[in-house]
Every structure is written in C-alpha cells, then in structure tokens.
C-alpha cells in the first residue's frame, strides 16, 4: 500500500482507538475534577457496561438498545455507590480512603460479574449496518471504526458544549474550582457530585459497550483498560476535560504507530511519553499541579 494510504489508515485506526479511550478517560477526569479522587473502579464499571450491554443485546437483539441501557444501569450503580460510601468520606478528605473504597469496589465488581455472567467471554456482534468496510485510497477500513470515530467526536463535542454552555456545566466547573464557595452560594454540591460520578460511570459503560464488538466482554478487560485511562488523564492533566481528549489522542497515536515501528517496545512507548510530559509539566498538559 502506498505511504499516504498507510498514514490515513493508521491515523483512522488511532482515532477509532482514541474514541474508546476517551469514554473511559473523560469520566475519570471529570470525577477527579469534582471530588479529587482517582476512581480505581472505573475499569470495572467499563467492564460492567460491556456485560450489561451483552445481556441487553442478547435479550433484545439490538446493539443500539444496549448503547442506551448499559449507561443507565451502570450510571445508577455509580450514583448508588457514591451516595452510599464516597459521600460520607468528603469531610475526611484523605486520598487513602477513596483509594481503598474504590479499590474495594473494583474487586467486588469483578467478582460479582464472574458470579452473574460466569467466567466465559461473551460477544456482542457488530450491528449489521456497521459490518463491512469502506474503501479509502484503495485501503479497506471498517465501517464500525468509522462509526466509533464519529460517535466519539459527537460525544466529546456534546460533553464539551454541555460543560461550556449550560448552567449545569457551569455549576460543575464551579464546583471543581471551589466547592466551598458554591456550597456557600446555596447550591447542593453533594447532588452535583453524585450526578457527575454517575455521569462518569455512564460514559465508561458506553465505552464498554462500544468496545465489546471489537474485543468481546471478558473478565480481564477492566485491568487492561484502567491503566491506559490513568495515563491519559495524567498526560492531559487531572480534572481537565479537554486534556482527556488530547490525552486519548496522544496515547492512541503512540500505541498505534509505536506498535508499528517499535513492536518490541510497544508497551514502553506510552509510558515514556507520560514520563516526558510529567517531567516537563508535572501537572499534565492542561492541568495545574495539585
């Protein structure tokens, strides 16, 4: 294949991968922005999303319904967890507590999924209208990945506009700036936190459903994804939404092209990138150092 075609295909590969990564990372970073916690359970919520999506698709035969149901279910789970546990810890405000609670949740979730769905993997087949390929510069490219790119783009724009333009978005940014102040102004900060946490979990679930047709739903999927999400959030800057977009793109490109040119060092490249950025900007690209 000629070089241009190659570049195009690889870039599109990277964009489609970035799309999935974005769904996990943006939730993680929003949650951090609002409550200054690193949600260890985020990968498990991503996994839960995939499994719920599978069951929905299996029951209704509709991938699209799965895209709607999974985020709702997982978002609800997230909000419940926030209300039950996290909300009681804010006054304490020590990082260790959050780490343990979310870590505990991750362990419990993984095990619960094994008990409910069994150890076997479950596939969500690509919806028929997204099967097959389109030919770009006489290179075949999967329709499904194009769909991911578009869907990811829309989600990113939507969330961004929501944060920038709407009153709720303003509120969220305000809370991440100075929760006490917002509280003092008579807004129910606790409510905002619960909602944002739920939203973050819902986004992760979306990512899970979208990933399922490419990797199927299986027990190991949480661990492999959470670490990428960490790296992205750190590169972009903890709590920075735009940062999570940029981070997703950087990591995706690093992985796609890294795997092509340095297959032996495929793993290392992402972390080298992260190191370099952190050394230059300890707070991440768009973040301020905590």
């Amino acid at each position: 294949m000629d070089f241009v075609g190659f570049l195009l295909t690889q870039s599109l590969n990277a964009f489609s991968q970035a799309a999935i990564l974005f769904f996990i990372a943006c939730g993680l970073t929003l949650i951090f922005g609002i409550m200054r916690i690193i949600n260890f359970a985020h990968g498990s919520l991503f996994m839960l999303g995939a499994y719920v999506g599978f069951s929905t698709a299996a029951a209704t035969g509709s991938f699209w319904l799965a895209l709607i149901v999974a985020p709702i279910v997982v978002g609800a789970v997230g909000m419940a967890f926030e209300k039950l546990f996290l909300s009681r810890l804010y006054i304490r405000g020590d990082g260790g507590a959050y780490l343990m609670v979310t870590f505990g949740l991750a362990v419990i979730m993984g095990e619960t999924i094994r008990l409910i769905w069994g150890p076997h993997p479950h596939g969500i087949s690509t919806p028929d209208m997204l099967r097959g390929v389109v030919i770009l510069l006489d290179q075949p490219f999967p329709k499904y990945r194009l769909f991911l790119i578009v869907f990811g783009l829309l989600a990113a724009l939507g969330t961004w506009q929501f944060l920038e333009r709407t009153r709720a978005g303003l509120l969220i940014r305000a809370v991440s700036q100075n929760a006490e102040m917002v509280q003092a102004l008579g807004t129910d900060v606790q409510m905002v936190r619960t909602c944002v946490f739920g939203f973050g979990c819902a986004m992760a679930a979306l990512g899970g459903v979208l990933a399922a047709p490419m990797v199927t739903a299986f027990l190991g999927m949480s661990a492999s994804v959470i670490i990428d999400a960490f790296v992205i959030v750190i590169i972009g800057g903890m709590g920075s939404f735009l940062g999570s977009i940029i981070g997703s793109l950087l990591v995706a490109f690093a992985q796609v092209f890294g795997a092509y040119y340095f297959p032996n060092m495929a793993l290392a490249i992402m972390y080298l990138l992260m190191l370099v950025i952190l050394v230059v900007r300890p707070g991440g690209l768009l973040g301020k150092e905590e």
Binding site: G96, M100, V101, V107, M238, M274, L275, L278, E290
Partner: protein, 326 residues
Amino acid sequence: MNWKTGFVITAFVACLVPLVSPNYMMTVIIEALIFGLFAMSLDLLVGYTRLYSFGHVAAYGLGAYTSALLLLHFNLPLPIAIILAVAISMAIATPIAWVCTRTHGVSFAMLTLAFAQLGYAILYGFKDFTGGSNGLAGIPRPEGPFGLDFFQSKIGYFYMVLFCLLGSYLLCRALVNSPFGAVLAGIRENEPKTAALGYNTRAYKRIVAIAAYGFGALAGALYAPFAGFASPELFFWLISGTVLIMVIVGGSGTLIGPIIGGVFFLMLENQLSEVTSLWPLIFGSIFIAFVMFAPQGIWGLLTARFTKPPVQPGSDRDGEAARAHS
C-alpha cells in the same frame, strides 16, 4: 523507653513461630513477612512524608530481578547477592527519586507509576536478559560467606527474613525519630513552611524516597531466591495499589501498622482462597469496611484504647479551638 522491651518480646514471640506453626504454614508466613517489610518501606513515603507512591512495586521488582540475575549469573553467596541487589536497586532509584521528588501529590503518584510501568515494559523489551514473560526460574540459594548455609532450609530462611524485617524496622524507626525524620514530618504537614525554616526539602524527599526503594528492594531481593523464580507479575502495577492499601489498612505512619497490614492480608488472602472462591468479595468488603468504620487502621484499632485523647486547650478557649478546627 519501654518500646524496647516490647520490641524484644515481639521479636521473641516471632522467633517461636516455627516451633508452634505447622511446617506447611511456614511458606506463607515467610512470604507474609516479606510483604510486611515491603509495606513498611512504603510507609516511609506515605505515612511520614505524605508522598503517595503508585509505583512502589518497582522497588520490589527491581530487588527481585537484580538478586535473581546476580544469583543466576555470578553464583554469589546469597547474603552478598541480596546486599548487592539492594545497593544496585538504590543506585537505580537515585535518578528516579531525583525526578519524582520535583513534584508532590497526584503528580508524584503518577510519576512513580510511570517509572514502574516503564520497568514492566522493559522486562518484555529485553527478553534475552529478563526472560520476558517467562521470567527467571531456578534461582539458587548458594551458601556462604564463611560457609553459612542455614538459609538453605526453610526454617533458616524464616529467621533470615525475620532478621531483615526486625533490622529494617529498627532502622526505619530510628530514621523517622531522627532529626531527619522530624523534617519529614514538617514536609508532610506543610512543605513551603519547612523550606522557609531553612530546610532544602527536595533533598530530604530524595533521601527518603531512595531509602524507601532500598527497603522495598530488600523485600524483593528476599522473595526471589525464596520462591526460586522472578516473573513480570512481580512488577505488575496492581501490586502497587495493593501494598498501598495494606499500608493504609494497617495504619499509615506507624511502621508497625503496615507490617501487620501486609502480613495479615497476604495470609488472609491465602487462607480465604483455600475455603472459598468468593474470597475477592470478602476481601473487597473488608477494604470498604475499614475505610468506613476503622479509618485509623488495624494498628489504630489495637492501640486505640491505650492512647489518651489529645490534651484539650484550657476551657476558656474551647470555642476558639473548635473554630481553629473548622
């Protein structure tokens, strides 16, 4: 200084363990002690300097692999190999510490994580040297120096590990109670103020980070020859998370707490997984329960009824005290 009596009693009790515990328990007990040592090394950072390291597994893996390679390629006497492994690990840790201590808080956590993951990736990068995913198997425990070979038996190894653990505890305790340790507490509480008092805080952070790596590496260096192999799992980032949990569950900033936390949880996991495959559920619940109901950790619980509540300021200013609190 009644803690000394306590220490002696504890050490004595520990020495009796092989006599009372069945032989099959010794394996897990030894690993538990090693893990306790590992957790304690992290407490230097987390509990005393409030530097949350997310990549402390790097210290463990580094120690394990260096000792493994030394033993496999040079057939050194075991104690020598372990000491060398610690030294080399600390040498490698020096530049890492230098970079990481430029930051604090979340950035520090993530920088350490990045370095740990880099190490993990490098294991796969240099297969011929590290064995890649196979790891290194068949690590010997050569005898000597002076024909010492007690550590070739399991009981003997127990005493060697116990010696290292108790020794490291004394060192760490001395460290945190030394003038140096006082400065660490200052950095933990208020770094800018500590600098304003005339301390070069970065130098202190660097030193404590290297020390923490050293003790962590010791744990790893003890593990590899005991298990007889080293594999990338010893470098897996999840262990960093687990050990951090052990420190907090045990009671951070107490040295003893993390040891108990590490020992307790490794044994608990091992025994629970014997009786039920649901053990992860129980495990996760325990974590959450601790955060919710016993934030002070195991050691906190054990000592709670002995420590007096803080002396209250004179009643005339209780109101202000309350205000100062909020």
